[in-house]
């Protein structure tokens, strides 16, 4: 009787373990959610461009779920769909994985900023305050002061003397390498970054069918756009021949009680 119960327990544990592994694997391998792409209702030039001819530009407007423009986000023009190019989504680096050894103060400080590395120039204005509150910054500052004997220089070169390389730029480097690989797999043609109005104009490529994608979600669990676009002939009066509005899936509102 006791042996039978133990066997049942073992089976149950094995089954639960298998379930957990399957769930984890499914979560890790599933691509990020897709987002919507709407072309302007009437493209300015109506007939499709001839192959091998220069294509008219593609204008993109990128909005968040609240319809606010998303500035400084990179988009890629690809030859293949991001979701059918065999990209290894599970190997996408995560910011949290590059915080080993970071003090709670540094984690808190980083959480208030959204840069991929410590080299964001806008951080510099906050360095004088950060060296007082974050142990890693203090160590970097003291190190710089000892080497250069100049307070301003020690502050300006804070990132150079920052003790944790993984926190400083490792995530950015890995992300860049991942994007390089993914871009190659999906046939990257050009890339552009949105301006402060969430606008980007893709120019300088041949006519044909392409896909527009950010490849890497802008936030953890965020969407990846995969928009099929067909180019139009260049419009001599505008830098673009067609406009696409890109927005993530609408936010799900909590049901009212």
């Amino acid at each position: 009787m006791r042996t039978g119960r133990r066997t049942h327990l073992l089976w149950a544990a094995l089954f639960s373990g298998l379930c957990l592994i399957t769930a984890a694997a499914a979560r890790a391998q599933s691509p990020p959610p897709a987002a919507s792409c709407q072309p302007t209702p009437t493209p300015i030039a109506a007939k499709p461009a001839e192959p091998d001819a220069d294509a008219g530009g593609i204008r993109v407007f990128l909005y968040d779920a609240d319809k606010k423009p998303l500035a400084r986000k990179r988009f890629y023009l690809l030859r293949r769909s991001a979701f059918s190019a065999g990209i290894d989504w599970a190997s996408m680096p995560r910011r949290a994985d590059f915080l080993q050894g970071a003090s709670p103060q540094l984690r808190e400080w980083l959480a208030r900023h959204d840069c991929d590395s410590l080299y964001c120039p806008e951080f510099e204005a906050e360095f004088p305050e950060a060296v007082k509150t974050v142990p890693e910054f203090k160590r970097a500052y003291d190190d710089g002061l000892r080497k250069y004997r100049n307070e301003k220089l020690a502050l300006k070169w804070l990132a150079v003397n920052f003790p944790l390389r993984n926190v400083r730029s490792e995530y950015f480097q890995r992300k860049r390498a991942w994007l390089e690989r993914a871009g190659q797999q999906a046939g990257k043609v050009v890339s552009f970054m949105t301006d402060e109005k969430g606008r980007a104009i893709f120019t300088g490529f041949k006519a044909g069918d392409y896909y527009l994608s950010n490849l890497f979600p802008f936030g953890e669990g965020g969407p990846v756009w995969d928009c099929k676009v067909t180019t139009l002939p260049p419009n001599p009066r505008q830098m673009w021949a067609v406009t696409y509005l890109l927005s993530p899936p609408a936010k799900q509102t909590a049901p009212s009680p």
Binding site: R74, P121, N150, R176, G204
Partner: protein, 397 residues
């Protein structure tokens, strides 16, 4: 008797044959020797001008840059003003880095030519030297700097740096924030999340308080347009905006010791091709008070010399609105820096549009009606020429 005669004849023939053989082999040997002498004669050596140092010399390219250049130089703290100083390569290599190969030239004659590469006066009692090429601003102002052109072009991948520096305000920043108001001084308005301004600032002429936006006076009394203030943006000319991230002692690759990571040696005898714009000329630059050689170079490559970055409406526009192809910008090919005419308002109707008639349409119409009309809203010299196809297309002509 007969037998003796035969023997004698045979001996004589053998002797004659021997003499002929010996003489012929001697003459062949002499010829060979002459030929050998001709071949082994030293080729006239190309005269080497030791007053001119070039990085392109194969022997100079053989070793790493660090084999001659010390990083940082001992004088880095003195090479710039105190607050602007940072560890940098700001001095010539030591004699030792030349002596291994050039000992002979160092001690040739009373005034060795090789000394003039660095020294202003060739004398054992004088150690005075020409300014070193870095810091670039000081060198460019010197007589030697004005006369020299760099052997290197700079590689700067804009797209990589755009990704590193780009930072949009996080969602938190868009929310309403409560701050302690009592005794609070007015805080400066935070700058727009514009990564370009990290390296490119509005150029202010020496002695000018600020780049106050003033319109170009295209119809000045002398008939010569004056250039508005806030015309140009600067481009880093030294290591100041590089080494705070790429310093050898803990920074990011390419490190400051890997000079070739950013400096590309141009083929010998072909200095960096200067992109000559069609609009400005040196006289205009001088008249407008531009003396900084880097700024003059920027002015001279323009096709629309009147355009001012700091103009009231232009400064409100994101850089990427006009510089749309930032990832494709190549510092090795200045033609990629050109901004297309369509970015001047096609779609936004700033300067291009038929109804109401915008300035490009207006000036193109006037030019088509009167070939002597000069377009001066954006141009100086170029305004005298026929409107290009791009302008006609943009205005639908």
């Amino acid at each position: 008797m007969k037998r003796r005669t035969l023997t004698l004849a045979l001996l004589l023939t053998a002797a004659i044959a021997g003499v002929v053989y010996v003489s012929s082999s001697v003459s062949a040997g002499a010829q060979r020797r002459r030929a050998t002498t001709r071949r082994s004669a030293p080729a006239p050596r190309a005269r080497v001008d030791y007053t001119n140092f070039t990085h392109s010399t194969p022997a100079h390219r053989k070793d790493s840059c660090a084999s001659c250049h010390q990083s940082p130089s001992d004088n880095w703290a003195q090479a710039r003003e105190r607050d602007a100083a940072f560890p940098d390569i700001t001095d010539y290599p030591e004699h030792a880095s030349c002596l291994n190969c050039h000992r002979q030239q160092f001690f040739r004659g009373a005034r060795p030519a090789i000394c003039t590469v660095c020294h202003t006066v060739v004398s054992p009692r004088s150690g005075a030297r020409f300014p070193f090429a870095n810091p670039a601003e000081a060198f460019a102002r010197s007589e030697k700097g004005r006369a020299s052109t760099s052997e290197f072009a700079v590689i700067f991948p804009h797209d990589v740096h755009q990704d590193v520096m780009a930072r949009a305000p996080s969602l938190d920043e868009n929310r309403v924030r409560f701050v302690r108001a009592a005794f609070a001084q007015e805080q400066p308005v935070p700058s727009k999340p514009n990564s370009c301004s990290v390296c490119h600032e509005t150029y202010v002429k020496p002695g000018q308080a600020a780049a106050t936006p003033a319109p170009a006076d295209a119809n000045a009394a002398a008939g010569v347009p004056t250039l508005p203030a806030g015309l140009l943006k600067t481009t880093p000319t030294g290591h100041a905006s590089c080494f705070n991230c790429h310093w050898q002692d803990g920074g990011e690759k390419p490190l400051s010791t890997d000079c070739a990571g950013c400096h590309k040696l141009l083929p010998q005898g072909s200095p960096r091709p200067e992109l000559k714009g069609k609009d400005a000329d040196t006289q205009l630059a001088a008249r407008a008070g531009f003396t900084d050689p880097f700024i003059v170079r920027k002015l001279l490559r323009r096709d629309s010399v009147i355009f001012a970055h700091e103009e009231e409406r232009h400064r409100e526009i994101d850089c990427a609105t006009c510089h749309t192809r930032i990832p494709a910008l190549s510092t090795l090919d200045e033609t990629t820096l050109k901004v297309p005419i369509l970015s001047c308002g096609a779609g936004s109707s700033c300067h291009i549009g038929a109804k109401p008639k915008r300035i490009l349409n207006e000036e193109v119409d006037k030019k088509l009606a009167d070939p002597n009309f000069q377009c001066v809203k954006c141009h100086f010299n170029l305004g005298r020429e026929k409107p290009p196809r791009s302008h006609l297309d943009a205005t639908g002509k």
